[in-house]
């Protein structure tokens, strides 16, 4: 009998939303306890700051340039390598329960298997997962959760926020007390909400296994990704009026806009509503209209969603204990990317390689049987390192197709094994607007080069000192005193950046 793996992901969750990472808003005692006895990573970085490329990195262990999912709407091929397939072939029982998003959601033709499983009454096999039950952010659509809700609680299907508007763009409709975009009072009972459904289905699947089975379960919560529409019965947990503004939020408009003006021009252009470069934020929403109260209410609801996830995870951990697996289960908790959540006066995500989107929560508690000492790892690691870590936990060699390395368990281990840099990519081509970023996080700096596109000429960049400028408000790109450092970082980036797969895979849908 080997070690079992519970891989827990959320969607669009910031590093600072967990108590163990210094968060003060959401109470996350379950995750904090796991961190207390495990490895807590202080600089975990995604290889993409949007869902599909990032999740494709998790399952393949490859950078976006290699797996080819270069933006949302590009499908990961069915024959792409999968760590679940590796584990399944080694005898592991495998499951993915919750949000997959390796294939586009907007799929009226039902061309993609993710969108057909529930319709066809199937729960796998998919990408190496023998059990596959999918959910996403709302109550409608083709996935298992939506079918379950429609079949068992049809009155609740339309209680969620309408994620897309009548034009199928990301909705900018506001709600709650402040009218903040994508905030919504959802009258759904908590036990019908997707967070609890994911935990319930995970527990059910675990109950089907024999005690001696080895298993890998990817439990993938759709929250705290917008819309911020947790069950209304839970809103009393946090009074939005008492929520402090985040440190990255610059209250004065003049000062805020001065900071934005030091960044490549798509930042300010999005802020003032003159240019939307991507589909991941409401097309018609102008960030400059964001008020402090909007930020407070968004962050309150986001924190409530994080608390619900923590409690759902607690129920799963109790079920695992009940099966007598406490000594044999590795738990890894992370997310696919972050959320701006008021930083720079912005919400949502896009081609903005700063901590709000790039600094992720990552916790790994090894099975007790591994006798690993708790630690805090400050060296940079990536989501590309997850798949190799799963293989190592299972006692398997890391397959050659994986580009990462098993996660280090300490800074000493990281230094010994060369964890020096992490790379992050952004590419988008949306109806004639092309944006292309390549970023390296190394030595306490984050450095982004811009490739020529329709917004940038290829000379732009961003360079931030993560120690002295933790909110990336001072762009040091082309600072004469840092020319040598900048050149070194850019050279190191290109020395390690995988070549982009060509031709580019087709964009099949907006998301």
């Amino acid at each position: 009998m080997g070690r079992k793996i519970l891989f827990v992901t959320t969607d669009q969750q910031r590093y600072d939303t967990l108590g163990c990472n210094g968060g003060i808003l959401a109470r996350t005692p379950v995750i904090d306890a796991i961190a207390e006895s495990g490895h807590r990573y202080e600089r975990a970085v995604p290889q993409s700051v949007v869902c599909m490329p990032s999740r494709s990195t998790m399952i393949t262990g490859q950078h976006p340039s290699t797996h080819g999912v270069w933006m949302n709407g590009v499908a990961l091929p069915l024959d792409a390598p999968s760590v679940a397939s590796v584990l399944h072939a080694a005898g592991y029982h495998t499951a993915l329960i919750g949000k997959p998003h390796f294939e586009p959601f907007l799929d009226p033709f039902a061309r993609f298997p993710e969108n057909r499983f529930a319709r066809d009454g199937l729960v796998g096999l998919h990408r190496g997962f023998e059990h596959f039950e999918a959910a996403t952010h709302g109550g409608a659509g083709p996935l298992h959760y939506a079918r379950w809700l429609a079949n068992n609680h049809p009155e609740a299907v339309n209680l969620f926020y309408p994620v897309l508007d009548a034009r199928l763009e990301v909705n900018d409709l506001g709600g709650g007390a402040t009218g903040a975009p994508q905030v919504w009072d959802n009258a759904i009972p908590r036990e019908w909400y997707h967070t609890d459904w994911v935990a319930d289905r995970t527990i059910n699947w675990l109950q089907t296994l024999d005690t001696g089975d080895d298993w890998f379960c990817w439990m993938s919560f759709p929250d705290p990704h917008h819309p911020w529409d947790p069950p209304a019965c839970e809103l009393g947990r946090i009074d939005w009026r008492e929520v402090p503004l985040p440190d990255g939020y610059i209250e004065g408009a003049v000062e805020r806009e001065a900071v934005l003006d030091t960044k490549p021009r798509h930042w300010k252009a999005w802020y003032d509503g003159s240019l939307v470069t991507n589909f991941e934020a409401p097309n018609s929403w102008v960030p400059a209209t964001l008020t402090p109260d909007h930020v407070r209410e968004v962050n309150a609801r986001n924190a409530i969603e994080c608390e619900l996830i923590d409690e759902a995870l607690g129920r799963v951990m109790t079920a695992i204990s009940g099966r007598g697996w406490e000594d044999d289960v590795d738990v890894i908790f992370t997310t696919d990317h972050g959320e701006l959540q008021g930083d720079f006066g912005l919400l949502f995500k896009g081609p903005y390689h700063v901590d709000g989107l790039m600094r992720l929560p990552l916790i790994w508690r090894q099975a007790r049987s591994a006798h690993a000492a708790p630690s805090t790892v400050t060296r940079p690691v990536g989501l590309v390192d997850l798949a190799p870590t799963f293989c190592t936990i299972a006692g398997l060699a890391v397959p050659p197709f994986m580009e990462g390395s098993p996660l280090p368990v300490s800074d000493t281990d990281a230094d010994a094994r060369g964890f020096e840099r992490v790379l992050t990519e952004w590419d988008s081509e949306v109806f004639g607007v092309g944006v292309h970023l390549r970023t390296i996080t190394r030595d306490g700096w984050v450095c982004t080069t811009y490739q020529p596109g329709t917004v940038h000429d290829g000379t732009e960049g961003e360079l931030y000192d993560l120690h002295d400028d933790p909110f990336q408000q001072v762009n040091r790109w082309n600072d004469p005193s840092l020319v040598s450092l900048q050149d070194d970082l850019v050279a190191d980036l290109w020395d390690h950046q995988p070549a982009q797969r060509t031709p580019l895979r087709r964009v099949e849908a907006p998301v």
Binding site: F109, R111, R167, F431, R506
Partner: protein, 154 residues
């Protein structure tokens, strides 16, 4: 209005006439468009059913066997505007180029529909270049009303 326009094309090693017999037959769309499960033509009205169960009514605008152009619009209320255009272009060497253009408002649907058309072109090429699958036996004349629509459009 947020109009999106996406065009895909593919070269097929088969004569334009052969390809047109399939791609230009509005009733046989489901034979080569993955994700369309059924297709019914009644005069200038075509009704397609998608894999998700959605039913999409369409109006045939152009069905021109001479130019080998087929053009239609989806009339479902979700679209402010839609034009789908299939052109089969003879390249003169017993091969042809098939172009499938989608214009739509909302633009998100242009991307989504066009993703389907790209898959359809791949499937059309596969069928036309596979010896055992040369479904050219059925020749459907353009409906009179559609021909009329062609004239109007031209």
């Amino acid at each position: 209005m947020t109009l999106g326009s996406v065009r895909y094309d593919i070269r097929i090693n088969r004569s334009a006439a052969d390809v047109w017999r399939l791609a230009g037959d509005p009733a046989r769309l489901a034979d080569w468009f993955p994700g369309i499960t059924s297709c019914r033509v009644d005069g200038t009205v075509r009704t397609i059913t998608l894999g998700s169960g959605m039913v999409m009514p369409e109006e045939i605008l152009v069905h021109d066997a001479h130019q080998r152009r087929f053009q239609y619009r989806i009339t479902a209320s979700i679209f402010e505007y839609h034009r789908g255009t299939i052109d089969v272009i003879d390249l003169g060497d017993d091969t042809c180029l098939v172009a499938y253009a989608t214009e739509a408002d909302p633009r998100a649907m242009a991307l989504t529909i066009a993703g389907g058309t790209a898959g359809a072109l791949d499937e059309l090429k596969r069928q036309m270049e596979t010896p055992m699958e040369t479904p050219v036996e059925t020749v459907t004349e353009p409906p009179a009303a559609a021909a009329s629509a062609t004239n109007r459009a031209n």
